[in-house]
Amino acid sequence: MKYAIPVLFLALPLAAQEIKMPPGLDKLAAKASEVVDVSLDGALLQLASRFLSDKDPDEAHVKQLVGGLKGVYVKSFEFDEANQYSQTEIDEFRAQFRPPLWSRIVGARSKKNGENSEVYLKTENNQITGLAVIAAEAKELTIVNIVGFIRPEDLRDLGGHMGIPKIDVGGAKKGHDKKDKEDDK
């Protein structure tokens, strides 16, 4: 019991800590043929939101979606050759998503082509307050961290709007059930 209070004080800053992008990812930019690196904090999101039209239905939808966000961080690399990134960076990023705040809602891995896709959600007081995506393919690595109130399906359903391509999901369900599958074929 006498250790409970110091442990609590140590744990509080950890719980409040933001998710950090692995610093090693920045070095990948030199090897990549295409790089997307977007870092938008709350102030920049507010600024961007002011330039989204209320009259255009697509932009109005995005404006509403962005309203609850505090940060959007995306790093995506495309390589000409396979195996250009190390698993360490992904592990470092993944290690930050610890329960009970974070839970993995999707985990799909293919041993055949070395693909690995994971979606994590942060939940506080029964509300989603964060979303993280890891999409690792042989020649591509994408890491997403979205801070704030967001629903993954809202983002997914942006496909077909605002110039975002719509990928035929083949009758994918609207709601997200907990999925954790491993494709070992």
């Binding site: 938008l40 961007a48 994918a172």
Partner: protein
């Protein structure tokens, strides 16, 4: 008694030469007045020019600020759209993958 009074009146009304440098003092005073009036006009003009400059500079600064803010906003919007595009495509692909695995 009457003679004294007359003398006094005569003395008072008699023509007297002005004090030395009277003319110079009058001219100097007139010049001073003219200079003061000119200074007032100059001050007025300087104030008007300064106010106009302030208004022009302020408007230019405001316009420049607006242009800079607009550029930053448009850039932030484009970056946001790019981030959402990447995320949406990835989530759609993950959904597709999960569907594929489930079937």
């Amino acid at each position: 008694m009457m003679d004294d009074f007359e003398k006094q009146i005569q003395q008072a009304l008699s023509r007297k030469d002005p004090s030395p440098f009277f003319e110079a003092r009058v001219l100097a005073a007139a010049k001073r007045d003219a200079r003061a009036r000119r200074a007032n006009w100059q001050m007025w003009w300087a104030s008007a020019v300064a106010a106009s400059l302030l208004i022009v500079t302020g408007s230019a600064w405001q316009y420049e600020k607006g242009v800079r803010e607009r550029a930053a906003g448009e850039q932030a919007k484009a970056r946001l759209e790019l981030a959402l595009k990447v995320t949406s495509v990835k989530l759609q692909k993950i959904s597709q993958k999960v569907e594929h695995i489930q079937n």
